[in-house]
Amino acid sequence: MLTLKLFWSFFKIGAFTFGGGYAMIAMVKDALVDRNKWMDEDEFWESITLAQALPGVFAINMALYTGNKIKGAAGSFAAMMGATLPSMIIIMVIASFFRDMNEYETVRNVFSGIRPCVAALIIVPGIKMLKKAKVTWATAWIPIGACLLILLFGISPVYLIIAAIIAGVIYAKWFAAKRE
């Protein structure tokens, strides 16, 4: 039953995700944390961090990790299927009938409304995540720096993640050495 509910939650999310995986964050949090209380906020942001650190499709990583947390392997599978099926069904229908959706004026108009909404749906959870990551004024340079490196220099997120992992390992080593 829980597995089915999980599938349905991700199915709805998959059907309303416009603009890539980050746009899913707000919806997944709404479904898993706020509405169903399947996990708490700390666990949620932990899953977002891990999903981003792994290669592959962010949305799929997020579905797999949260699904597993809630209902083990069956939960993982249900969440992944839920997140991919709407895409597959819709794309197959469209690929069979239309070639260029952009030609339809109604579609263009609807998207002119959706785009700014999605941008806000990505930025606000990102800012909320800062609080959960326990960012203080002393450490604010980390997210701001990461943000600027991407916006201004187009640096790949991979390098930033790797840098964070290395910094963490060095700190853990230093901490362990100090304790001895």
Binding site: R35, A59, I91, N109
Partner: protein
């Protein structure tokens, strides 16, 4: 043979595709247009436009589309699940290691450093969307501001509902 090629192409992309949907699109393009020549650059551009305008993760949409246009519905199933497979395998590995060593400093500290970086990445992703294509009129500004306010002020707000309302507003505004 074609199914095997589809599997291999999208498995590779799933395995080495870091950095989200848009970074993956250029990888898919290299394989699909340059390497295997399943479609030309213009056809690929159309396909990306459709992938962006239909719901779902962009890379999943692209994989489904390429698979469908090359080998029908079975092709799209093969392409999509090949793209997901590396995630499944890696996630199983990470989960086994992560939960076993969750209390270790060597897991905790990197997580602590990664979280603010990922928050920065997400904010950058949102800001990158704030271009001239997104802000086309005063209505875009109103929708953006309204969505920010709804998320900050309301305790519980359905993002799906916000998207539906915004879509309707965009459509109604054009009728005026």
């Amino acid at each position: 043979m074609l199914y095997l090629q589809l599997f291999w192409v999208f498995f590779k992309i799933g395995l080495f595709g870091f950095g989200g949907g848009y970074a993956m699109i250029s990888m898919i393009r290299m394989e699909v247009v340059d390497e295997y020549q399943w479609m030309n650059a213009a056809e690929f551009a159309d396909l990306i436009a459709i992938s962006q305008m239909t719901p779902g993760p962009i890379s999943i949409n692209t994989a489904t589309f390429v698979g469908f246009s090359e080998a029908g519905w079975l092709g799209s199933v093969v392409a999509t699940f090949s793209l997901c497979l590396p995630s499944v395998l890696l996630m199983a590995l990470v989960l086994a290691l992560f939960f076993k060593h969750k209390e270790s400093l060597y897991v905790k500290k990197p997580m602590e450093y990664m979280m603010p970086v990922v928050a920065g990445l997400i904010i950058a992703g949102g800001l990158l969307m704030c271009d001239r294509e997104t802000f086309t009129s005063w209505l875009s500004v109103v929708i953006f501001g309204g969505t920010v306010a709804a998320q900050l002020l309301l305790k519980k707000v359905s993002p799906i509902l916000l998207i539906v309302i915004s879509g309707i507003l965009g459509w109604a505004f054009a009728l005026l």
